[in-house]
Structure formats: structure tokens, C-alpha cells
Symmetry: D2
Subunit: 234 residues, 4 copies
């Protein structure tokens, strides 16, 4: 409670652990056609291309990653709608939260044009950015002040936290297999090679981009094939 | 945006639809032992007791319910950690939200005694309730004022909403089968007959209690048996 | 045990129950954009088309169906690889099984041309059909004879059943939501309008075709839109 | 097809890979109470005991294992009813299967006493074991002979395999997290310390026992705590 409020415009994603990889995918796929006795590494790339093109998704599920994510609550809310994953998040019931709040950076698009289903975002003016910064800081500080006032009066954390905004940072561990990650990335990134349109909020896309880098490192062949065949959920 | 802020101390749950029931459970269970050809209704209660006592959980999955829930965001956050369910929630990206905020009622316990894993809640004093009401109203109004100021300046809804508190009301449809509902109730209610300890936040328990009433109506025999055998997740 | 062996070339699917439908999909989708207070039925078809085209899949999860399927074990094995569903199946441990066995009909293609990933099926000759019928009947009867011999000698059902073939009929209840059903149909049917290639075994396709009829009846608008946009898993 | 039929009485389970462990569980659990910044290893055992006793199950989901299992089809059928796992299995459509068949060992109990829900198994006599061996070998060889006859006549593998028995060996990769593994073990093993009754078929218990050894090695503290608190599904 002694820490003073801080404002951030970034999110953070750390890869904590992983298992599997391109070779595991090949090994799991070949059990279908050759049984368990025979697994060679030759021609892996060809097989992976074939599997991606034909939506043979199950062998990619044996590659699993654990990340630690720091992001605002509104990002965690969207993230946890992905049900094929395991989560542990910081709890406002069990600990006093820290005053770290999200404010969009100056290059974050601020205005929305068009109607539902067709809208796109445009940059804000300097005045609009000034207004957002001031309005958000003011509201964040008011919330924090009410939160600490209640805590100091002996109110339970789970009651005091009700005033805290969805722009507050939270942190969580997430473990997901690469099939679920492909689904996540297909919905939470915008990419010219993607077959399917998606309109993620920029802040969850910032998280997704960092996760995508880990995917590219851990499964380089699969990652390339996935891009080649439209970055789809399979 | 023209609506004026409102404060609520309740949550609302409506049963929208259901399928299945006690008889469906019996029918599904008997396919194991008698095949599909033979389904009588006699002795259903005995069979249901047997299934509950022995954790034969799968036949209860064919009974499914859809609810519409109105509750604060902090409740929706906990609720959606339950992954065996289907959700559609009001979106702060696609619509302008309404200023309805949660403030605990006077009989809501306010203070927390003991350490993590053992704490319990005690009633607050009148002074504490006054303080919470004032602090929460003040923070909620500050957040709402910042939100509307940003919207009026042409800022996108998804940016403006960052200041909104987790005490804001949201609404969502949820469909879950009764096995998942049993798990939900075992974790989100406190009950003297329960085998397992649970320490839900009061507000999600208020939602759970309304869902439990629907369970009792739709599957009276199963509901009784579930209580008799410890209200467990099976 | 007194029943005499029977041979079948068909599968059977009965719709036992359902909840939801096109209007439920619209209602669930609109909670995102209008909140819970406002649900009109006008323009439903347009909204459904929009949702299908843009892969907004979650609102379709509130429509749920229960089927009773009778099919050979090798079909049940493939079916139950679909994890987003609830199953109850006849048990060879808890009951004596009935001697109903699958033999392909005369119009079932019998021969496989090409290599893995590219093969296609061709009709068999009369001689090949005769050979299959004789070989299968002979093997089925040998299995059944060994099964009954063991049962008569007091051997446990779960041991005696080890000799029974995957061509034996089984029956199971399955409950799945329509999102999961779309995934099932996209993988288990072959269709000229489908975006994605799939190569299901004919017998599971026979099951899928009957399930598809129920989908078309219960959600006519959604079904049409799903076909229009490539019959994909979303 | 040139291989000659073989009979086995064992199953095989190999641990292929794992990630996580006791320390990962602690790390994930502490994010709730201390945030991500603070993770010490002291007092891990106490925390793990606390989590197991109170059914705080989610932190155990970040520990994940991949196994390769060789077992009869009737075991694979029961295994794959566990939906929180990833599977790749040998395919009778894509490859010619190998003639390896399961026959119970001499110490496998053969007879079933009592009625559904209460029955128990008793040892068979020598005569009963002789009869089972002969009946099973005879049926297995008849099935294999029909299978190879059809393949030699140019019949597709997916048609020829219909005669193969559920006692035929198959192999599959399975990846599951330890929460799902605890559920599996609670249902598929019989143990004096278990809170809940379960009546698995002996052959799937043989698979489960080998998986349990890997669990004990990879998470020794968690494994001990899980046993202490009743070996339950949490």
C-alpha cells in the first residue's frame, strides 16, 4: 500500500517453460501411419506441411507452453475466454493489489470509424491523447484513493477492490498447447497472410505478438507452415 | 450515455431454457447396462442415488441449462474461470456501457479476520458501511465521468472503458450442463452439508444460489441425492 | 445370450432432445452489442449470416442436441475422439452384449487407390463383396461363439468380450452443442461446398449425415449460412 | 502382413516428456497471493499440502506429461473417454495393423460375483484359464485370418479391419496435465487410501499404475500430499 501509482503503456509476456516441438509433432503424427516402432526425422518438413494443409491438428497438441503475462484486467478478461488453457492469476481477494495502470501510448489508434462489424481505427489527435491521459490518470487515482481508504478502514480486500478499474495491471500464468495457441493467434492478431478476418483489441494483440515469437522459436517448421496455410484455427 | 448512474446491491439470474432432467439421467445411465432398447421409469430414484454415491457423473451431462446473469464484472471474472460452459457477454468494445454499479448491502459482511487459507468474514460497523458507500460512489462517479468525457471527445469505446471499475454491472448468457453446474456450486456456495470447504466471495455465491434453485426445480431427485452425498464436484 | 447373430449394413441416429435454435443464437449474440434488455427478432437472418462469415462462433454454443446413435464400435471409436461432447455408451462390462454385426452394403466402395493423404475409394467387384461377406460373417461368428462359450463357463463379461470385433454394434447417447457439431460435420462429411478437405470413413459419414438433417431442421437459417460459408469448423 | 500372431498379457507405458513439477505448482499458486514478483522455494511442501487439502486444483495444471501407451483396444476405448487430454493413435485406416493380441495372465481374476454396482472379482480355476486361452486364441486367429484374406483380395484396410477384436493391441501418445491425471488415477486405480470407490477393469489399472509411477517421480511432494488427502479428483 505504500507504493505510489505507476502508469504503463506496454504489456509483458515471458516464456516460462515448454515441451515438445517440431520433432514431437512428427513423432505423434507417425504413430497413426507407422505405429510406435518407427520414427525417423527425415522428411519432417514435408510431413508438417501436409498436416497443416489438411487440418490434421491433433499431433500439434503435444507441444505445450507456459507463459507469465502482465497485462491490464480488460486483456485478461478477453484472454481467459479461451477455455483450452490453464490459468493462475493474481487475486484481489488474497493480496493487496499494486497500483500499476494502463494508459495507451501515443501511437495507439484512438478513434473508431464505421459501424459494428466494419469499423476500423484511426490515430487520435494530440488533443485527444492529452484528454485520454488526463481522464484516465484522474479516474485511476480516484479509484486508487478509494481503494486505499477502504483498506485503511479495515474493509476486506475483496470489497475494497470493487472500485478498481479494468485498466489495472494483473499477472497470470497460462499454459496452453500449440493447437490452442494457433486458435488464439488466429483470433487475436491481424495479419496480411491470414485467411480469416479478426478485429482484436490492440492490447491483447500486443500480448499475442509476444506469444507468437515463442511459437516461432520453439516450432520453426510448424510456424512457417502455419503461416503458409493462412494462420488458421485448425 | 444519457442514463444517470445507478447503484445496486443485488444480482439477477434468469433461467432461459433447459433440456433433460431426472428421467434423462436415468435413460442415459441405463444405456450402459441395458442397451438402448429398454428404458423404464421405475426405480429411478434408487438408480440416481446409486449414481451420485458412486460418482458416475457422465449421465448428468445430458441435462443442460441456459441462464442470463446480471452481476458485477468481478463476479463475471470468477464465473468465466469455469471452462466447461458457453458464454456470451455484453461487450465494452461494441456498445456503450450503462452506469449500473454494485455497492454491498448493509448486511454484507465487510471485514476479514485471520490469514490466507483460514480467514473468515465479520459484519462491518455502521461507520464502515458509510465509508464504503461513500468511497465506492465517489470512485464510480469519477470513473463514469471520465468514461463519458472520453466518449464525447470521440475516443473509441474500447479505450474509454479502461477506467471503468470491476464493480460495474455486466450481463451474460451462460449454458452449462449439470455436471459442470455441480462443480460450480460445490466451489461457489458455502453449505453445512458440503464435504469440501469452499470460500467463495459472497457476490458469486448470490449468483450460485439462484442457479441452485433452478437445479432443484429441474432435477428434484438428482438435487436431493447430490445434497445427501456431500454436494461434491463429481 | 439366446439371441442369434444378426448382420446389418446401416447405422441409426435418433434425435432425443434439443434446446435453442436460430432465435437463441440471435439473442445470445445481441447481448454483446445491445445488452440483455433488447432482443428483437427482425433481421435475424442478416445477423446470422454476418456471424457465420466472421467466425463469431460462441453464440451458436447455446443450441444443444442429444442423439442416440447405434453404430459399430469402430465408428464409436472415431466419434468419441470429439472431446466437446457428453457420452454414455453401452458397456461390455455391465451387460451381456447382443450379436449385431456390421457388414458393408453392396454399394459401399471396397478398394483404396493411391497413397496416404491422396487415396480414394473405388467400388468392389461382386467377387470382392462376396469375399468380404463370407470372411466377415465367418470371423464374426467365430468371435461370438468364443464369447458365449466363455460366458457359459462363468468367465466375467469384461474378459469374454475381448474377442468381440470392432464391427459389433454398440449404442450411445451423445449431447453436443452446435459449434461442436459443425466441427464434427466439417471433419466427418464430404461435401462439394466444403472449404476444407476431409476423408471420413463412410460409416461415420452415414452417422454424420443423419445428424446433419437434425441440424438443418432445428436451425434452418444457421444451417443455410453455414453451408454458404464453406461448412467450416469455427 | 508377414508377421505371425503374438499373444501378450502385459501393457506398456513410456514417459516421453514432461514439464513443470512441484516447484512450478508453487510458483503458479503464489501468483495469486504474492503476484509474479516474489517466488521463493521455502515452505513449498506446506503450501502443497494446503492446496491439496483445500482442492485448489488449478496450479497443478501447469505440470504436463506425455506418455506412449501400448494396450488393447478395449483399454484405449476407456482411456479416451477422458476428454482433458490430447491423443494420437495408430490408425487401422492408414496402416496395416500388427497381430498382437491380449490374453489375461494366469493371475488375472476371471470371475465376477454379485450384481451391478456391488460385484467383485475372484480368481479363475485352471480349467477356466485354459478355456479362456483356447477360446481367445481361436477367435483371434480366426479374425486375423479373415483380415489378411481380405487385404490379399485388395480390400481397403478400413473395411478389412472390421473383424479385428477389441483385444488387439494398439498404441497411442497421450498428453495430459496432472490435474487430469489425478482424475484418471482416482477412477482407474483401486487403492486402500482412496476416499472414493472405483471399479476399473484390471487392464486399464495396469496402465494407470505405470503412469502413477511417473507422477510420483516428477512431483514427489504433490504425489505424497495427494495420497494423504484421499487420492481424489480435484
Amino acid at each position: 500500500m505504500t507504493s505510489s501509482p505507476a502508469f504503463r503503456s506496454d504489456v509483458s509476456v515471458s516464456l516460462i517453460d515448454s515441451m515438445g516441438g517440431d520433432q514431437r509433432l512428427v513423432q505423434a503424427a507417425r504413430v497413426s501411419t507407422k505405429g510406435a516402432e518407427s520414427v525417423e526425422s527425415a522428411e519432417s518438413a514435408g510431413l508438417i506441411l501436409y498436416l497443416m494443409r489438411n487440418r490434421h491438428a491433433s499431433p500439434v497438441e503435444h507441444t505445450v507452453m507456459t507463459f507469465l503475462v502482465e497485462a491490464p484486467i480488460f486483456v485478461a478478461r478477453e484472454f481467459m475466454r479461451h477455455r483450452i488453457a490453464s490459468y493462475n492469476e493474481e487475486s484481489g481477494r488474497y493480496r493487496t493489489l499494486r497500483p500499476s495502470f494502463y494508459i495507451p501510448a501515443r501511437d495507439r489508434k484512438l478513434t473508431q470509424i464505421g459501424k459494428v462489424g466494419e469499423y476500423r481505427f484511426e490515430p487520435g489527435t494530440e488533443e485527444q491523447h492529452d484528454l485520454v491521459e488526463k481522464a484516465q490518470e484522474r479516474a485511476y487515482l480516484a479509484a486508487w484513493s478509494a481503494y486505499t481508504e477502504m483498506l485503511e478502514a479495515g474493509i476486506a480486500r475483496e470489497v475494497a477492490r470493487m472500485v478498481l478499474p479494468v485498466g489495472l495491471f494483473t499477472s497470470f500464468y497460462v499454459t496452453m498447447n500449440v493447437r490452442s495457441l494457433m486458435n488464439f493467434l488466429s483470433l487475436r492478431t491481424i495479419h496480411p497472410e491470414a485467411d480469416d478476418p479478426s478485429t482484436p483489441q490492440r492490447e491483447i494483440e500486443m500480448v499475442a505478438e509476444q506469444m507468437e515469437e515463442s511459437f516461432a522459436e520453439i516450432m520453426p517448421i510448424t510456424y512457417t507452415a502455419w503461416n503458409e496455410f493462412g494462420r488458421r484455427s485448425i
